[in-house]
Symmetry: D2
Subunit: 432 residues, 4 copies
């Protein structure tokens, strides 16, 4: 089980330096593989402010290595396009002015081809640098290189979810890739797995890479609780819908109900009713909703309302982490290239929850806040996580668009409660 990039890299037993180069190359290459099905036109569009054009992702991830690795460490490095620093800075206030996020879709140049040229130039410089720098420098830059690789993987996931949103805006419902054969499965009934009260250590305590927001490791007292043995399915969510879930304000948080009304939500994002059937836009185009698949593209508001309707609640992130910490990291991840959640087909053991990793990110009821003793990294990279600790909820476990080498039990993803365009789903919890 390879849960860390560097572990993964070292399976092939090359030198640590070569491992880093291989890992960098492999991850950067995967980004471009994700783009193979795209037309040039698909790269350009920003279909809502949260979405970035694919081309922007390609350039921004190159800019990251240029800004944080090459510029500070390669003596005479000069960007071939100094003005890209303005265009492709995402939100690092400390490294200068940046282009308005909501206007990324107004920019047609650099072209896709020029963007790839820029990426390849950066790749050449990075690999040259990694191959030639002395050991001391290599050790010093390994953390930022590793961060850059994980940063690239985050953007890989965003590229998949963003391109899905872009294509979904098109009434022609174009497909990103061919229809993946749908799995059929007899989804086992939902059971409840019990955990005793405990003073638990929460947060990352290993030696490998983790984000600053996963630490420091610290104690939290957790009362006894139960966790659902699997994700909520479309069939179960349809029961909620048919029971008037979207029409009953008493099931919703107040701001959630306002959103339901303002946005006219009647179903998860990408669901479309035609005649009497629910269809769903997928990366393989429009198809009938499969009742056995985990429900996906629901907001925190919907996950919370569903849980209230089901006389349960969402888990806290500590509850989720306790349950996940000893499980193997397996599941439906980006490497499988399905990019769609799958019905549960593995047998459940009697005492461990299934589908904890992959398929869909699981909303927790925990607001995204700093752990006790949290300190952001110094310098510009300190703007990575901490400044978003407001009005967001934590999601855990990764999705079908996450790389398996990117995820950990302590990994904290976060989005505002109305976000739906990520692969987000529901796992229930309850008091004993």
């Amino acid at each position: 089980m390879a849960k860390n990039i560097q572990d993964y890299a070292t399976q092939t037993q090359p030198s640590p330096r070569q491992s880093l180069i291989d890992c960098y190359t492999r991850v950067r290459h995967f980004t471009e593989q994700l783009c193979v099905p795209l037309e040039t036109e698909d790269y350009v569009i920003q279909s809502m402010p949260d979405v970035s054009p694919t081309r922007w992702h390609l350039a921004h991830t190159a800019w990251f290595f240029e800004t944080f690795l090459l510029s500070p460490n390669v003596a005479d490095y000069a960007s071939p396009h100094p003005q890209y620093a303005y265009l492709f800075n995402s939100y690092y206030n400390s490294v200068g002015e940046r282009h308005n996020r909501s206007q990324r879709g107004l920019i047609s140049r650099p072209t896709v081809s020029e963007t790839y040229t820029y990426r390849h130039y950066v790749d050449q410089c990075v690999t040259d640098f990694l191959a030639s720098c002395d050991e001391q420098l290599l050790e010093k830059i390994t953390p930022v290189l590793t961060l850059g690789i994980h940063h690239e993987q985050q953007h890989q996931e965003l590229m998949v979810t963003d391109i899905k949103h872009v294509l979904s805006c098109n009434p022609l419902y174009p497909a990103y890739h061919e229809q993946i054969p749908q799995k059929t499965a007899q989804v086992p009934p939902l059971e409840w797995i019990s955990y005793p009260e405990q003073l638990a250590w929460i947060g990352y305590q290993g030696q490998d890479f983790s984000y600053d927001n996963e630490g420091p490791v610290h104690r939290q007292f957790v009362d006894a609780y139960q966790l659902a043995s699997r994700l909520i399915t479309n069939r179960e969510y349809l029961d909620f819908m048919q029971d008037g879930g979207y029409q009953n304000p008493l099931l919703w948080l107040s701001s959630g109900w306002n959103t339901v009304q303002a946005e006219h939500w009647q179903a998860p994002l990408y669901w479309i009713k035609q005649d009497h059937d629910w269809y769903v836009m997928t990366l393989s185009g429009l198809r009938l909703v499969d009742p056995d698949e985990p429900v996906c593209h629901v907001s925190y508001y919907e996950a919370d309302a569903y849980a209230r309707w089901a006389k349960a609640r969402l888990a806290t992130e500590a509850e989720w982490e306790i349950a996940a910490s000893h499980l193997p990291i397996t599941g439906n991840f980006a490497e499988q290239r399905t990019f769609h959640p799958e019905p549960l087909s593995t047998l459940l053991t009697s005492d461990q929850p299934a589908q904890m990793f992959g398929d869909v990110w699981e909303w927790t009821q925990s607001a995204y806040l700093p752990y006790h003793g949290y300190q952001p990294a110094p310098g510009a990279l300190g703007e990575y996580n901490g400044k978003f600790m407001c009005n967001q909820f934590v999601l855990r476990g990764g999705s079908c668009a996450t790389s398996i080498t990117h995820i950990r039990p302590t990994y904290r993803n976060f989005f505002p409660p109305d976000a739906r365009w990520q692969f987000m789903g529901i796992r229930l919890a309850r008091e004993v």
Copy 2:
């Protein structure tokens, strides 16, 4: 020390029934006393969506008793104005349609005089009912009556803060009441009070009234921490401003920085720069900022940015509650009728924080979320607290507009992070 309404009521030793009537009468009367300085015109205005016209508060609090006490329990009760139920329902979806919140300022009728007539009619019915109902019914309705009284007190505080906002929109800077003589004080230096790590019981565990969101009482593990001995003063906050606090994005949460820029924030709400001096709009009109007063009318964003600049942080609500739980509830409350925070004039003991109650609500870094095992009250009253548990932060301790009989160490107030029109201030905390 009288920290609970019923305690307070029983100090005069009448019968429990009479105590309830007295308490109801006293609190209802205080609402109207708050309006004595107002002109009729002042009652009508809604100066922003968060603000309600004073007349709306007067009617809504009467509607509450009519809807939840009289209608269900008085056999032949009929509202003299059935259509008021539509106008003066605030957010209880389960008791019917309601007038749009943001349009409360468009309604000139019922007039102020008619509104008082309505209030007095309800008061007569309530006191008649309390005086005549049998003991069994009295016992049954005591919780909802008590809730109504606390609800009235909450609206008293909102009336004060709302009318302050209304008057502040007027370029003539009208005063609500005469200038209160300003206290002068030699504010003692800020010190740090230490608390050891502990598994603490958090939440209300008494027998008197508390809101459902203060329970159930439960355990939280809290690491060792330090709490500031007093509130942050205007002098200290001016240091932050002069050090470029409002110009440096690295000090701010990302959404906070967006707000600073969109709203052109340069200082706390109600501060106005004239020539080279900062003035502040108070309920006694415009006056120079007093550097010794606690800083007030700052948002969570500003409190958080100030703390970061000061190399500290805000407390969690558990940390605050541990420190407050054994302190006497004394301070600058609504009964004092200053309606403005005061410089710290009491001597600090060496080991207890000052100004924990009254003056200003203290922002905590805790998102407003349900405690473990939280269940909202059944029925319409269950819409009171739980449905707001999203995108809000907890404030503790009460303010100069809070009634002393309304506050408790476990009391959880909550507002969105950009709210500033309540009396909100800053107390720092830090790791050991």
Copy 3:
């Protein structure tokens, strides 16, 4: 037939000086008479940006005389409230900064009572000045005094229409005054009156008061045309509605159709469907739509769409003026205090259109633009008319809220094409 204030004043044959004083006093008094039915609360509300609070109208019209008559001409005149100049300037950029129009409803002070005191102070100063100034000065200031009187009358009409809008926002449908007994009438069939082609002199050419936008008198060539003998009735407009008028985009101007959809227009402003009947909010409260009354509170978009549906068009302002120029100015005006259009009850002569004056302003198809040779008045009063000559359409003839002494055949009222809260109706025209 008294169609001009000065004419009207001179009917009583006092001295010209006394006539001016009488006229001033009478018009100023009428403003306050319009307010008699109001509660204090009604004076304060701004129910939409176009609406001003009644109290604002009262103060602004006093400010006008203070600013343009007293300050420049009374040697030691000092405003008792210099800050009112900021609050009650409407749009005269040349006389200084002004309070934001959309925030007039946020201001509770000066109170209504203080506002009346201010008015009466100004009135005293004006009448003292008029009684005592020398003849030369009297002659010099007569134009601005006369303009101020007409300005006051314009605001009288706005007060009526604004207070109607304010009361209409209240779900209780309060009445401004008692129900006026509804006239019943057998409305005669619509006929067409023909006018030959001509080179007509258009614009005001008399010696009495007129606005600058009514001149200079100039020639326009007008082709032969026909004008409808009366206004369109509610019955006829209901035919349009029942024929799907609000659902058929081909009947509408493009921006009109966008407005219909964005605002969900289904009927004229103030119409409310209850069960299966159309009701209308009037200044006497809610009542059934009377099919014989002229349709009212329709926008230019609706008037234009109705005309297209009826295979006709609206008149140009020149066509309207030619038809009106020799008609007596009689009709349902503000002096009648109905403030509601009435069914046509007078017999039609065979060759003159009825209802040309009073009842409702009649939308023309003419954009509000300068006449050939137009020059705005010099100084601040030049901001009165000319700067609004963009994106507005001309209305002619006055309404039930216009003073009979205020209207002329050449009078050009103007509003944007989506405005509906004035008393606005429809008269058709067509080619021969």
Copy 4:
């Protein structure tokens, strides 16, 4: 001098049928020639709601011929992509539902290549049809074919102005084409040319193509007036700017001044101040403002304010048409491929205005309204012009992005008063 497409076509003396085919082919080909400098990415972007992606223009103009020519007339014509009808209908409500205009930039498919395939398919069908249909049918469809060709030319101009706007949003200031060598010229002083009062025939009265809004020909009385001998230059406009033109509300229409403040206008669109110099974004990238060029990309508001500052006014469209009706149609048009206005280099005759055609559209003070007797064309094509006759002003004369074969003295272009992204400039008029 060939001012009409059909005239132009017949210069080569082929048969009328062949002329039509040639004309169709030539105009369609010119559309694609305009795209030669574009990258694929440039075709996709909608930089503001008024702008359409180039690819949309390409598809929409093909859809026009498919919908109005092929479908009704070619027996078994079936669109290869029936769903394009939804995507590429611009505003014809009568031919079915259409994609939201503001969302044209969210659609990445059909690709640019697929769009060209669609165009070429339509072209093949049209030319096959034209070559083979019988004479009677040819005669019947000639008007709609001709309209389609003029429609195509309108979109050619929009393509140029839209792509200019798209490129201007890019901080890299990419160029559409190479820098055209700038002409230098000694611009002659502005003189005034006098026209006597007259009862003029206005509107198109020829036999060739014209839009329905150019008729019917009718009489208008026009007082004596003077027209400026040339366009206003950047030098003159800079005088206005330096005299505080953008800071003085008295120069502006009220809604214009609101726009200046809301949009922070300080100069024409595309002007950028760097250090102390004004630069302008052109289709050849950023370059210094040339003071001798006609000022361009000004709104009606700016043209009107400039005229007021210059103690003149804009012409009415009748005044413009009288002056233009006997002038040769020559100038800087799209065929010249400069796409930028040029300094006046031709000598002025003593009695005729220069630059009346080409370079920039000239704002008139005439609102865009129907001529006396105007009737829109029947059917869907009737939605072409008439429904926009509201809140727009007329512009005359064509621009450097207009085809010479597209323009006429009677041609009425129209835009809202705040529009600036077309090539729009200023010619003054005044009373005698």
